[in-house]
Symmetry: C2
Subunit: 329 residues, 2 copies
């Protein structure tokens, strides 16, 4: 494999000139540029990122931290990040943490060792202490889940408002016995969505039944199925369920179907995230849509600016309520 020296020799110029052509600097005569380009072609030369990266002390790689690669919520966000990154000559390293601190540390080390230039964390279970510490010396952005006072810039939606609207919708079509299928309170988004749920009920003077508020350990279908089993076993069953993720909602739907009950007639369901699957269930799922692609592009831009040393501001984006069959027989 040829290197810049050999190309320079072939073209009869110095390595500096070759470098200038490579980096499209306009201080090179057309004549010499052509000489160099010919030599590059002739030798099948490809500049090595290894040399360039060391010299520029950058890796042009962005780290993306997600808890589970199989969670559809992240697909569009990742797409947004990736296309923005690519158009700025960055590549992304997609890292599944499994919410496992040991694994997380492997990835943090990658940044410390200059294998990556920055991090977009989307893991709600990320160790905020470590992350905050790391953010003092490295470029870090949070996406979706965040920590308000960490000083780490974030992009997200108004979770409380979104949950509020979801529950309001259920109330508006006549439901009063509404269950909340939440995830762990240790996550900010879980607390915010719960708040929205409570606010909507209180606004309609519906008292909160603690039996109706349940917690799933993780955001997979199985967990939704399991949580729904508990809800169905209540003596005074709710007539509607608001789940904080579509995966939970789909699990709940499955459990309801398996018990011979009908959605939305027996029990209505609202999910959260508007993942692709939410339109493939029978019935289709009413849900909250987040501007995922946009979240991705914005997070990527924020990170790249941060890497450049600029100060960046956090962003809160809009959401939408998508009404489908699971709440409108």
């Amino acid at each position: 494999m040829a290197n810049i020296q050999q190309v320079a020799r072939e073209a009869g110029v110095s390595v500096a000139t070759v470098s200038r052509v490579l980096n499209e600097q306009d201080t090179v005569t057309t004549k010499t540029r052509i000489k160099v380009e010919d030599a590059i072609k002739k030798m099948n030369y490809e500049p090595s990122m290894l040399g360039r990266n060391l010299r520029n002390s950058e890796s042009r790689i962005l780290l993306i931290l997600i808890p589970k690669i199989s969670n559809p919520f992240y697909f569009e966000i990742i797409k947004g990040i990736e296309s923005t990154a690519l158009s700025h000559n960055y590549n992304i390293l997609l890292c599944e943490t499994d919410s496992n601190p040991a694994r997380e540390n492997i990835y943090f080390d990658l940044v410390k060792k200059k294998m990556a230039d920055g991090i977009i964390s989307m893991d709600p279970a990320v160790n905020m202490e470590t992350l905050t510490e790391l953010s003092k010396t490295h470029a870090i952005i949070q996406c979706s889940e965040y920590a308000p006072n960490s000083g780490i810039p974030y992009v997200t939606i108004d979770n409380e408002e979104a949950a509020y609207r979801a529950v309001k919708h259920l109330i508006s079509i006549g439901h009063e016995k509404i269950a909340l299928m939440n995830s762990d309170d240790k996550f900010l988004y879980a607390r915010q969505r719960k708040k929205g749920y409570q606010k909507a009920l209180e606004e309609h003077s519906i008292s909160i039944n603690e039996d109706y508020v349940c917690r799933a350990d993780e955001l997979g279908f199985e967990y939704g199925q399991h949580a729904m089993k508990k809800i169905l076993s209540l003596k005074d069953r709710p007539t509607a369920v608001f789940a904080v993720s579509d995966l939970l909602a789909i699990g709940a739907l499955k459990e309801i179907n398996s018990n011979g009950l009908q959605v939305p007639n027996d029990i209505a369901i609202v999910g959260f995230d508007k993942i692709d699957f939410s339109n493939m269930t029978h019935p289709t799922l009413t849900t909250i849509g987040q501007p995922m692609y946009q979240m991705g592009t914005i997070a990527a831009k924020m990170l790249m600016n941060k890497i450049k040393g600029e100060t960046v501001e956090s962003v809160v984006l809009e959401h939408e309520l998508v009404i489908r069959e699971s709440t409108s027989g």
Copy 2:
């Protein structure tokens, strides 16, 4: 950020010695090792991969090419690749090609520019000409989809046999009018699965009805839904469908449900891949399971060996037929 020079000075040794400690070479006295380790701790030193990588002319990054990041088929394979890679100090760059040659080329360039040490291609639509050419100078492995005579090592399953078993199963429970929901014949796996389908029918002297053989443009639910619509419009409707992917099967299921028909009583369905979601539909899906995680670990090992310069042999793994509700009322 400290570098190896400063650590050496702090420890009162040469950079060579620090490097030896870093790389756990046993030619260093315990006494000096401790001196060095103390200095490292004191200075909060993290060795830069940039310098090391240039020196070793490697990036310790593996490229993974997949057509769609949202296709659940790849999840477990990726997990297998990643955990194997991580345990050998490699990281993976997950690249979505969207079956777009331009995008593919961006990723091929990454290897040429030494930003990655090798490629695992899982994209059926990959440009085999380019890939074969590239494989002459770079380490490349194919996973799942492959090209028999390209000289590129692969890991896969016996697609014909798997399809044969799936269709045999449908025949064994009494079906004769069996539709095949395939993808494009330009893909080897599609041709192989079709062969298996034909073989099973022929073995039972069931003549092949060309109306029952249809093609979906892509492997998403919508395409399954659309293809099923066509099948349902046939005058002489089939009583069973074998779809070459679970996503297609789920789309078909949705369409059948939407038409007020029952699975498996009116129409039975068999899918392919055993993705997680295939167990969450109502009814659950009979499908072909591939050893995805193992495919991933094997592909990763093959690639790492190839990078070392070893010659590696292709591998064909076992599959299983998983019988669930969609074929057993």
